[in-house]
């Protein structure tokens, strides 16, 4: 709390937010044009994304510099923690929407289409040849016949990989706290490598699904929920891996001290969040 220190700290004005807004606009405008098949969409999207990356480096760069100048006090640190924690909470709610869609489809829409419960007439009048089952691409067989990825192969392996990566980053944190930089760096590298292996397997799995199983994004509700959930998760793992790499760099540069290394912890939290989401995926998308 505030009483801990003397003066409050307010950062000086910064160009990055307005820079970020313009870049975000370019990105979104480009994306819209891209999906609309309008000219220049992909260019703007690419440029926007590039500018966003520049902004992130610039903005966080300033923050790191101020941090190293010792301008920040404990209160600023707590504000950062609050910020990161609630940001992760918002991410959780984003995934909740897609899990909600999955549960709704499995508990209601598909059974109803198959004539269960309140769906009797729906089935009788419209989809009389359809019987509810999961996985399914619906009575319209949208996307054609497909087969699914068994949980106990690569998905299980990926689960183990992510769980171990959760351990390794905890080890890294421990090493940081006891000030063993060598171990810290080693554990960080291990975590990143595991993350990359996970991503590699995901990509492999996607290729397999598309080329051999005819399981695609447009394989009805199963394909939709499967790829949207695993896809967004994959994007988050990628982002997490990038952040870990940056943090690794900062570890090597010796930015962190035993008791002052919030950036490290923030990324660790994020990695654990990605980890937990995967567990949910493994259980609800692959197993049951």
């Amino acid at each position: 709390m505030a009483h801990a220190q003397g003066a409050y700290y307010v950062p000086h004005a910064s160009r990055w937010p307005i820079f970020g807004s313009v870049s975000l606009f370019l990105l979104m405008f480009g994306a819209a044009n891209l999906v609309n098949g309008a000219a220049g969409g992909s260019v703007m999207l690419g440029l926007g994304s590039l500018l966003i990356i520049i902004m992130l480096f610039g903005w966080f760069g300033d923050v790191i510099r101020e941090h190293l100048q010792g301008l920040y006090n404990e209160q600023v640190d707590i504000s950062f923690r609050q910020g990161m924690a609630w940001f992760i909470f918002s991410e959780v709610m984003f995934f909740a929407a897609f899990f909600g869609a999955l549960f709704y489809a499995r508990a209601f829409s598909v059974p109803w289409l198959g004539g269960e419960g309140d769906g009797f007439s729906t089935n009788q009048f419209i989809w009389s040849e359809f019987t509810a089952a999961w996985p399914t691409n619906g009575p319209g067989e949208i996307g054609g016949r497909f087969s699914t990825i068994p949980a106990w192969g690569i998905p299980l392996l990926n689960t183990v990989i992510l769980l171990i990566s959760g351990l390794t980053i905890t080890m890294a944190h421990w090493a940081l706290k006891v000030g063993q930089r060598g171990a810290l760096i080693a554990w960080m590298v291990a975590t990143i490598v595991l993350g990359i292996i996970f991503l590699f397997f995901q990509v492999y799995e996607y290729v397999h699904a598309y080329s051999d199983l005819n399981l695609t994004l447009s394989s009805g509700i199963y394909g939709s929920t499967f790829f949207m959930l695993t896809g967004f998760h994959g994007m988050h793992v990628t982002l997490g891996a990038i952040m870990l790499t940056v943090i690794l760099g900062r570890c090597i540069a010796g930015h962190f001290t035993k008791d002052n290394h919030f950036a490290f912890e923030a990324v660790a939290w994020y990695w654990h969040f990605v980890d937990v989401v995967w567990l949910g995926l493994f259980v609800f998308v692959y197993v049951v």
Binding site: M1, H3, Y8, L24, Q82, W86, F94, M228
Partner: protein, 554 residues
């Protein structure tokens, strides 16, 4: 005005070292585009919100003009639907929400004794995303309206129900990405509010000593972080259904159009409380001041707000009683929805009890506050009627619903915002607004807004559906009256604008004291008017006797 005056005896120039953002030594660009100052950013939010209110209002006037008399005179049905859709999106995401964030920016740091918001740069980003988001949102409509390019804006209603919303042309993607940007903006804004209230309170400013406005915003911020991502998810599914072949909302693929409605309203209902809880906070600040009597049941107010927020997560399907839900679900959502009347009632009764045996004066903020209590309650009553499922089978998608939500939104949210602006304007500018004009603005608004929306109850009950550009002659008379009210109310708002210009730009009016209002209590009222550009350099010492709720035994 002294840029570096700091609070009381705690003048500490140590921080000037890294303090290069005091107004005068800043370029215009530095001050308004790169700001890390909660007051400047608050101002930006409020100005933006006013502009959006006029844009959304102009659209509303197009709607009302077309509905003036039966028959299509001015616009084609497709364009009418675009007006309805954009009017709602602009008013909700452009006018009301940014206005509340602006008020939070200005007041919360001063109320809790903080130097600024917890994350000032992110605060600036939260704001600056908005103008770009709305450029994206309004672009298709503007291109069509002014240059005849493209097919115009979204026309599927602000609720974006598929499959209809997916029939739109290019505007679909623009709308969806604009909503993503608004979501990012409000989430960051909400995180800032939470961090500020949790972490930046001056020592001695205990949670249960905070002004109610801070409490309601703390809870609102939580709602925002919980539901904005869900909206983002919902519109993302729309995007992939339209462009990437997913079948979330397509029965043939095993999905369900109604699934969108569930996800949307899981966001949508908390959203409506996001638009009213801060209003409750403002009213809870104003009434005690002008009743010269402490707020009745401070803690009850806090707990009531919390329970409203909790209940708001389990009532969403009351917007969907006619989609063919299982009986059990309909019953559950009816009961849960009705329950909300209880904590809301507690608030209403507490406001009335605060006025009871007070010593009342009726400056403009108080007038708006009293009107709020009465007219919001009327909107609440119609809301409760809508919650009764069998009755809603008749009310649903009629003008009765339109009347309901304009009573809670216009005479609720908007009136509270106006009350708050009049209440705090002298504090912000150091100049008293023109009380005479303020009263004129109030009375014209209050009379016309009822002429505008009250007859819509009758129209709905008589069977006029919403979202129609033309109607049977039986509905002509009340539509005529309603449209008259609309233009009256609309032009009354120009008085408001003039008052703001006088106060903020011309600086015309009596000098405001630091207390401004005789009955005002709280840390913010111990500051000079206008407060120094940087309010607190060091944590102020809290004197419980200066606080509105300093005595926790109450």
């Amino acid at each position: 005005m002294a840029e570096h005056a700091t609070y009381g005896a705690h003048d500490d120039h140590a921080h000037d070292a890294h303090d290069d953002h005091g107004g005068h030594q800043q370029s215009f660009f530095q001050r308004w585009f790169c700001s890390t100052n909660h007051k400047d950013i608050g101002t930006l939010y409020l100005v933006f919100s006013l502009i959006m209110f006029f844009i959304g209002g102009a659209m509303a006037l197009v709607i009302r003009a077309e509905l003036f008399v039966p028959g299509l005179q001015l616009v084609h049905p497709e364009f009418f639907n675009q007006m309805t859709t954009m009017h709602a999106l602009v008013m909700i995401f452009g006018a009301v929400m940014p206005a509340f964030v602006g008020l939070a920016n200005w007041m919360i740091p001063m109320m809790v004794g903080a130097p600024d918001m917890a994350l000032p740069r992110m605060n600036n980003w939260s704001f600056w995303i908005l103008p770009f988001a709305f450029t994206l949102l309004l672009l298709p409509l503007a291109l069509y309206t002014f240059f005849g390019i493209g097919g115009g804006g979204p026309a599927g209603g602000w609720t974006l129900y598929p499959p209809l919303s997916l029939q739109g042309g290019n505007n679909v993607a623009f709308t969806i990405f604009a909503i993503h940007m608004m979501g990012i903006s409000s989430i960051m804004g909400a995180i800032n509010v939470i961090a500020t209230i949790i972490n930046m309170r001056a020592p001695g400013m205990d949670l249960l000593k905070m002004p109610v406005f801070c409490w309601t915003w703390l809870i609102t911020a939580f709602l925002l972080i919980a539901v904005m991502p869900v909206l983002a998810g919902a519109v993302t599914m729309l995007l992939t259904d339209k462009f990437f072949g997913t079948s979330f909302f397509n029965a043939a693929g095993g999905g369900d159009p109604v699934m969108f409605q569930h996800i949307f309203w899981f966001f949508g209902h908390p959203e409506v409380y996001i638009m009213i809880l801060p209003a409750f906070g403002i009213i809870s600040e104003i009434i005690p001041t002008f009743a010269r009597k402490p707020l009745f049941g401070y803690q009850a107010m806090v707990y009531a707000t919390a329970s409203i927020a909790f209940l708001s997560f389990i009532v969403w399907a009351h917007h969907m009683f006619t989609v063919g839900m299982p009986l059990g679900a309909a019953l559950f959502f009816m009961y849960a929805t009705m329950l909300i009347a209880v904590p809301t009632g507690v608030k209403v009764f507490n406001w009335v009890s605060t006025m009871w045996k007070g010593s009342l004066t009726f400056e403009t903020p108080m007038l708006f506050a009293i009107a709020f209590v009465i007219l919001f309650t009327i909107g609440g009553f119609s809301g409760l009627m809508l919650a009764i499922v069998p009755a809603d089978f008749q009310y649903h998608d009629t003008y009765f619903v339109v009347a309901h939500f304009h009573y809670v939104l216009v005479t609720g949210a908007i009136f509270a915002i106006m009350a708050g602006v009049y209440y705090w304007l002298p504090k912000w500018t150091g100049v008293m607004y023109n009380e005479m004009l303020g009263k004129w603005h109030f009375w014209l608004s209050t009379i016309f807004v009822n002429v505008l929306f009250f007859p819509q109850h009758f129209l709905g009950l008589a069977g006029m559906p919403r979202r129609i550009p033309d109607y049977n002659v039986a509905f002509a008379d009340f539509n005529f009256i309603s449209s008259v009210g609309a233009f009256g109310f609309g032009f009354a708002q120009l008085i408001f604008v003039w008052i703001l210009i006088e106060c903020c730009l011309l600086r015309k009016g009596a000098k405001a004291t630091s207390g401004v209002w005789e009955g005002a209590r709280g840390l913010e009222w111990t500051l000079p008017s206008p407060p120094p550009h940087h309010t607190f350099a060091t944590p102020p010492v809290i004197d419980d006797r200066q606080l509105a709720h300093g005595d926790v035994t109450h």
